[in-house]
Amino acid sequence: MNQEEIKSFIKEIGDLPTLPTLYLSLRDKLYDPRSSANDLARILSSDQSICSNILRIANSSFYGLSGRIVTIPHAIVVIGFNGIHHIVLSMTAARMFTEESSCSGFSLITFWEHSLAVATIAKIIGKKLSGISQEEIFTAGLLHDIGKVIIFKYLPEKFREVIVSVKKDKVLIRQAEENLFGFDHTEFGTVLLREWKFPEMLLATTAFHHNPVLAKEYFKSASVVHLADILARSLEIGSGGDEMIPDLSEEAWSALGLELETIDEIIDEVTPELEKSRVFTDLIQ
């Protein structure tokens, strides 16, 4: 099934969720090279919840600026336009899918735990490589499985069948989705992110985190998310709906150029870094 067919399939059930106007206005300003920190602050100030969340994240150990950021213009200058964009983008997207699940065997709480672990591990791996933006790779990790919650929202009955099949047939969730729908969550997620006009890198990491070699120019970023997903599953942090470990792409492992010992270093950083990322979980849930 191609992207257009999936899109029309979703539209038969109901319209795709639309992004809040605040995010759209913010994005317009971010893409305008003439914009200043005050321009962005004016848009953000219309939503006190977003403002307080930005200040909370800016002052958390995630950025290591504890207690020093007291105004939004200051936060924008210190974190940068890209950082602000990714905070608002990930908060906006994630908060659209937080209502508690009634599906046995799948919980949105453990789903976001898994997503946060992938985001955090992707950030740790990204620090060890050149040319990877920590904000971007964190967001890529956080949203890599967003297609699953879209299936959960739009096709709840079918999603239950997926979870039953995962348990009964002992297959990965994407294999069960493929068997039942003819497509999987990566394709669903990509359709939504494309509809939302999210950055191409996020589309690529969402679409190809199981097969990074297809991500072309975003191969390296997709490989980071791919490895982060395998590590998060291996460390049993949260759950994306199945408990199996996917195959590691040999091409992705080679492209990252990591030593085996680097895996030990990455895992040693997981617990403290996850603690820093907790501020996101608090704000999502």
């Binding site: 460390l235 085996l260 895996i263």
Partner: protein, 101 residues
Amino acid sequence: MVLAQDLKDDSGRLLVAEGTSLSEALISRLEQTGAALVYVQGDGGRETEEALDDKVYGKEFEQIEARIDSKFRRFAGNEVMIHISKCAKRFLKLKIKKEIK
């Protein structure tokens, strides 16, 4: 299991004398003192903290070993995945130790 060396605290005070038999209760007390490493007499070798952990957390560790081995069984021969499985076991054992404490 018998202690192979005197165990002393930071100020040199004797806590447990060499040759003392390590009962479950004594091992628990040693855990509480934060003793990072003790030497015990074995079959010609030295057992370390790992042996002590296996004694205290044996059941939980066995469950972790079995679960991870089962998840990684299909990757036999894959050097990277075998390494990840070892790291995962270490991570999960450390986590369970912290939770139990």
